[in-house]
């Protein structure tokens, strides 16, 4: 996967990886880096949630059945720096990547709470 936007070295923790891409967390910047569709893009908390929502509202089944719908989709997230132009196959792969990421983040939340936050 081609890396185009890394400007300085930061410590990344891999959150979730699939064949199509990967998502890393950067604790120093409190954000995530998404390596997908040939670029590495930075997402903060709000943008990551918005991206996930934007991908999830796409009705893939309907797109597959409807021959008049376009093959490409522009994912533009308001107030976020990056835009994606994705094919249907890429959207499916992106969805999988994000789903896995949110499961891992939820797991991390459980671990943090159980290990460090609760007294009992």
């Amino acid at each position: 996967m081609e890396v185009t936007e890394v400007t300085y070295a930061t410590e990344f923790t891999e959150v979730f990886t699939t064949k199509a891409g990967a998502i890393y967390q950067c604790d120093n910047e409190s954000c995530w880096y998404i390596d997908f569709a040939g670029k590495l893009a930075r997402f903060d908390y709000r943008c990551l949630l918005k991206l996930n929502k934007a991908i999830n509202v796409i009705d893939i089944e309907k797109r597959l059945l409807d021959s008049s719908s376009p093959d490409m989709e522009i994912i533009f997230i308001c107030a976020c720096d990056d835009t994606y132009v994705l094919t249907l196959t890429q959207i499916i792969a992106f969805k999988e990547l994000l789903q896995g990421t949110f499961v891992m983040l939820e797991l991390n939340n459980i671990i943090c709470t159980r290990l460090y936050r609760t007294a009992v």
Binding site: T13, V15, S30, N108, C112
Partner: protein, 175 residues
């Protein structure tokens, strides 16, 4: 690895979405009451018009209470779009029937949020919702009492004038 999401916001994605839905519902209630005030005023029921103007303001206050809670907890409050508000009613009674139906649906919707909070052990939001449960007790009581006036007074003769007169006296003072 830092728990960034939890640090940013107390609300889960699901609870935040549910409260944003409720914000819309309160805004709709406010608009509906405003429409009722308009109808009552146009048809000569001045006391009822005043009653609904007040209700409309209360619903706006509820909307803002939810709105500020979402923001205070680190979430994104969404200003809702309100459409399809009825203008005409078939009868004076229908106005009050709709009002009660609206309050019932608000109570049920807040109950559904609370059920979700229980599931997620979001006791903070649950505690916040308690204020609304108490409020709904009053709201349903008042709406139900108003409708009851139609039966105890009756609409015949000067009945509707009498009902309108009594609507302004409805109050709930059971703590």
């Amino acid at each position: 690895m830092k728990d960034i999401i939890r640090v940013q916001s107390l609300l889960s994605v699901g609870v935040e979405a549910a409260i944003n839905q409720q914000i819309k519902k309160e805004a709709q209630s406010s608009s509906i009451y405003l429409a009722m005030a308009s109808w009552c005023d146009r048809n000569g029921f001045d006391n009822s018009a005043d009653y609904f103007f007040k209700q409309s303001e209360e619903e706006r206050a509820h909307q803002l209470k939810f709105y500020k809670y979402v923001l205070d907890m680190g979430g994104t409050a969404i200003s809702p779009e309100v459409t399809n508000i009825k203008i005409e009613y078939n009868s004076f009674r229908e106005v009050f029937e709709d009002a009660l139906e609206q309050e019932v649906s608000v109570t049920e919707s807040i109950k559904a949020i609370a059920a979700r909070c229980h599931k997620e052990q979001d006791y903070v939001t649950l505690e916040f919702l308690n204020w609304f449960f108490k409020e709904q007790r009053e709201e349903e009581y008042k709406a139900r009492r108003a409708l009851e006036l139609f039966d105890v007074i009756g609409e015949a003769g000067t009945g509707r004038w009498e009902i309108d007169h009594h609507v302004s006296k409805i109050k709930y003072d059971n703590e």
